[in-house]
């Protein structure tokens, strides 16, 4: 069973600014859970596209109830790979991101296509799809709910992070205002995420109760 997510976002900046920001977005006030970033591979192809592989380590910020279902020796940090293709001819950036650790607990795969917004060509649109699945017997539904909730709040943080870096690059807004706005938005994101994870926690305890009668 897999949870599917599809979303469309817009950044009010031009495609080239967004592509530049894509490589400079860490760190930002919304990325505290991203601990390290490294480029492992990069090459310009014969047809002039840039392919890269980025390795990220992220804290596995998950609610307490999930810890029971993770082996005790499992690292707190998760490893995530992001492969990308920048095509300056078609003005598109395509990414595919997935976790290479904790995959049995939960696998999250995301594909994004960034391109010129068809309604306003000085803006950029991002089509984002994600597939969230878990292989834990009996618990997978709860873990998937949690995974989807966390993914959605991640998307909000990602977009805020982009806007922050783009505003900084464009030099329009004083840093302090940006940081304050960032804090408010982060608090809101936390509230939404909390509500969603409460729902997931309920599912988990329901699943547990069912198991007791088996």
């Amino acid at each position: 069973m897999v949870k599917y997510f599809l979303g469309l976002s817009v950044l009010k900046s031009s495609w080239d600014q967004v592509f530049v920001a894509f490589w400079q977005r860490y760190p930002n006030p919304y990325s505290k859970h991203v601990l390290t970033e490294d480029i492992l591979f990069r090459e310009v192809t014969p047809d002039n596209r840039l392919i890269s592989r980025r390795l990220l380590t992220k804290t596995n910020h998950a609610p307490r109830w999930t810890e029971k279902y993770l082996p005790s020796n499992m690292a707190r940090s998760a490893y995530v790979i992001e492969d990308s293709i920048v095509d300056p001819q078609s003005r598109t950036l395509t990414t595919f991101t997935w976790n290479i650790s904790h995959a049995r607990f939960m696998a999250v795969e995301e594909r994004c296509v960034y391109g010129v917004n068809p309604d306003n060509n000085s803006w950029t649109e991002i089509k984002r799809e994600a597939w969230i699945s878990s292989n834990l017997f009996g618990l997978s539904r709860a873990v998937q709910e949690f995974g989807l909730a966390r993914f959605k709040s991640s998307v909000t943080k990602t977009m805020k992070g982009f806007e922050f870096i783009l505003a900084k690059m464009q030099g329009g807004i004083p840093s302090r205002t940006l940081v304050e706005t960032a804090k408010e938005a982060t608090d809101k994101v936390k509230e939404t995420a909390l509500a969603a994870t409460e729902k997931a926690k309920d599912l988990a305890s329901q699943a547990q109760k069912k198991q007791q009668y088996v």
């Binding site: 080239d16 592509f19 530049v20 490589w23 400079q24 860490y26 760190p27 991203v34 601990l35 390290t36 970033e37 490294d38 480029i39 492992l40 591979f41 990069r42 310009v44 002039n48 840039l50 392919i51 592989r53 390795l55 380590t57 490893y79 790979i81 492969d83 293709i85 920048v86 300056p88 595919f96 997935w98 290479i100 650790s101 795969e109 594909r111 799809e129 597939w131």
Partner: protein, 74 residues
Amino acid sequence: MNSVGEGCTELKREYDQCFNRWFAEKFLKGDRSGDPCIEMFKSYQQCVQKAIKDKDIPIEGVEFMGPNKEKPGS
């Protein structure tokens, strides 16, 4: 941003600076004159690949965009 290899962060920063400049000023503008950051990338890579081995990070044999092949619309 820190590198996963604690001793590699400085090399990463130097490479990132070179890359970001080339990316914005040359690559995105259609200038095909080639990547001037190759040597810096090599030094940075040597450091990072060692850190990855030491920490047993499972990146071996992972095909570029591998899992995307099984997805609809790929």
